[in-house]
């Protein structure tokens, strides 16, 4: 046996290249954390009102009580901080739901929008916006109960739409107790078409209702509605699923081998699948309710992490969450400042950067270079 194994050991050089040695997890997370802190400060000081780092520090320490400083502090604390936190949460949610679904489908091209989550969320949200105020008015509910129902009902219906549709797709694609992935993806495409038609129809009929915003809000997303109330609700809806996602790292690694192999390794396959679908639907539903559909983050961010750091979910999930947050915060700063005082839809920016990036990856993959697309 010894001579046999010596005989077959190949002298070919390692072909993984410079990524053969994976970077240590703690170092990567520390660096990403530091970058997140830096872009957060940058985000807080950027905007229509001219402020610098000093103003940001004053806003949190309250060490200057002059009227000018007070005004800047209010802008930073009440407008920019909730928007920063919203960006952070949305970035985490989009990136993690992408990573989770890609692990589930064992296909790095899977995206939250792909399986109908995003359009399901958008359908629930537009129903909430049209129906809830009408319901409150009909029942003549007293304030603040009426606004509370309208406010809280929006993400709830969006998540319900996301989860509901995902489960319908899941059931449709269930064959003999197991998910048939191509069927699930194709059903997702059909549901997405119905979803965008539905949203387009409702938005067109109720175009006078300014609460409904515009079609572009739903298709290209925006953080402009961020305020403290929404941010706190978003935090609960996103951080709890994110904590769950962090605990599924090993199961998702085994999933990459295939469902059968994962089962052989002791993974409770159906339970993990169900949990991953619910958790990613909750995260995406919450983001869609408040910020519309923002594309490409869930696709590109996990991809970059895999190329740079490998596909191990113990790295991919925490690092992907941080990089997603960084990406969305940076994109939002540009969305606010590029056409100031007008604001660019953030989905335009993520598509402008993410689209070509992704095309380049596809072209690279088609040329036969070793890649992580599986195409």
């Amino acid at each position: 046996m010894a001579t046999l194994s010596q005989g077959v050991q190949n002298t070919k050089k390692p072909t993984l290249g410079k990524f053969a040695a994976r970077l240590p997890r703690r170092l990567v997370l520390a660096v990403l954390g530091a970058i997140l802190l830096i872009v957060s400060f940058w985000s807080l000081k950027s905007g229509a009102v001219d402020t610098d780092i000093q103003d940001v520090l004053i806003a949190f320490s309250g060490s200057d009580s002059s009227a000018a400083a007070e005004f800047k502090s209010i802008v930073i604390r009440e407008i920019r901080l909730p928007r920063l936190l919203t960006g952070f949460l949305i970035g985490v949610a989009l990136s993690l739901s992408g990573a989770l679904l890609q692990g589930l489908f064992r296909n790095p091209l899977a995206d939250p929008a792909l399986i109908g989550v995003s359009s399901g969320g958008a359908m629930g949200a537009v129903i909430a916006i049209v129906a809830l105020p009408a319901l409150v008015a009909t029942l003549a509910l007293p304030e603040p109960l009426g606004s509370a129902i309208s406010w809280f009902g929006l993400p709830v219906l969006a998540m319900a739409g996301a989860i509901g549709l995902t489960f319908i797709i899941y059931q449709v694609s269930l064959v003999r107790g197991r998910t048939h992935v191509p069927a699930m993806l194709l059903t997702g495409i059909a549901v997405n078409a119905i979803g965008s038609a539905f949203v387009g129809l409702i938005v067109t009929i109720f175009a006078s209702d300014e609460q409904l915003r515009t079609i572009t809000f739903w298709t290209l997303g925006s953080l402009s509605g961020a305020n403290w109330n929404n941010t706190l609700l978003l935090a609960a809806l996103i951080l709890i699923p994110a904590a769950f996602a962090l605990r599924q790292d090993r199961a998702l690694n085994a999933f990459l081998l295939g469902e059968t192999e994962a089962f052989h390794l002791g993974i409770k396959v159906q339970r993990v699948k169900r949990a991953v679908i619910i958790v990613s639907a909750v995260m995406v539903g919450a983001t869609v309710a408040f910020c519309g559909i923002i594309g490409f983050i869930g696709l590109v961010v996990p991809h970059i992490i895999r190329i740079a750091l490998g596909p191990d979910h113990r790295m991919l999930i925490p690092a992907g969450g941080l990089l997603g947050a960084i990406t969305l915060i940076v994109a939002d700063v540009f969305a606010r400042s590029l056409l100031a005082p007008a604001e660019l839809q953030i989905g335009i920016l993520t598509a402008i950067i993410g689209g070509p990036f992704f095309l380049a990856l596809l072209i690279g993959a088609r040329r036969g270079r070793a890649n992580s697309l599986g195409v």
Binding site: T15, R106, R176, G310, D312
Partner: protein
């Protein structure tokens, strides 16, 4: 007073699997003893793969029971079961840029252990399949045969040691060259001798004749015959099950199958 079922590691009784009205396997009885090296052969569609999938516990049985050490599969915790039985699939669809080390490390999932312990087990398994020197290479760059060896190492790392383990191999030599076909049979033999129950699905009757201690011939969803290869794999059986005329040629202790063509008497279909 010894119950024969107690000495048997894996015991399958009355396994029946029906899919969409079609009976895939029916009333299969199979028991695997520690130290056994069983081979399943049979024509395409005979139910070999279905039987193997049933024996891993992944298939929902329409009838029958499977026990490991006298305890039903259903009563096992999934992690506990994963440390006792492993299955090498025919091929893998893994399309993510793991290194060889990382792929084999996935086999250690059922073992709650330190990174250092994983490293030792992974390196030992890769040494067995002759890939230790290439441990940090990218998995996606490997040839089909090399990938199959990586997964064999993953499965060995999963079970960790042979004693009391069930090792299921689905056509393990299909994409391997002669050197590594030999390596796989050596490993299977070694594990069986050390107390594992090894079960392989094979297409090549020469390999079955040479390496099996017990051969099970599947035909149309049932066990057609079971026993020692020399007694079972007769030209008569091969004609009946595979519909070809064949004979064994003995040479220096080896048996080689010569296939002469269609059966001498054309079959009548009426």
């Amino acid at each position: 007073m010894k119950n024969p079922e107690q000495s048997c590691l894996l015991n399958a009784k009355g396994l029946t699997v029906i899919a969409e009205g079609k009976v895939l396997i029916e009333e299969i009885e199979l028991s695997l003893l520690p130290g056994s090296l069983d081979v399943i052969v049979g024509p395409n569609g005979a139910g070999k793969s279905t039987l193997l999938r049933a024996l891993t516990g992944e298939t929902i049985l329409d009838a029958g029971t499977i026990t490991l050490d006298g305890k039903a599969f259903a009563d096992y915790d999934s992690i506990e079961l994963a440390t006792r039985r492993a299955c090498l699939p025919q091929s893998s669809s893994l399309a993510f840029p793991f290194t060889i080390r990382e792929v084999v490390s996935l086999g250690r999932h059922p073992h709650r252990e330190s990174d250092a312990a994983t490293k030792v087990a992974v390196e030992a398994a890769l040494d067995k399949v002759g890939l230790l020197a290439r441990i940090d290479e990218g998995y996606l760059h490997l040839s089909g045969g090399e990938k199959q060896r990586v997964h064999l190492a993953r499965v060995l790392a999963q079970l960790e040691q042979p004693e009391g383990r069930v090792l299921l191999l689905d056509e393990p030599t299909a994409s391997l060259d002669l050197t590594f076909q030999q390596l796989v049979f050596d490993i299977a033999n070694e594990w069986a001798e050390a107390g594992a129950a090894v079960l392989m699905v094979l297409h090549d009757l020469n390999q079955a004749m040479r390496y099996a201690r017990t051969v099970t011939v599947m035909h149309e969803g049932r066990v057609f015959n079971r026993g020692e290869p020399k007694e079972i794999l007769t030209p008569e059986l091969i004609r009946e099950v595979y519909h070809v005329q064949a004979r064994w040629i003995e040479s220096e202790g080896h048996c080689l199958l010569a296939v002469d063509g269609p059966p001498a008497k054309p079959q009548t279909y009426d």
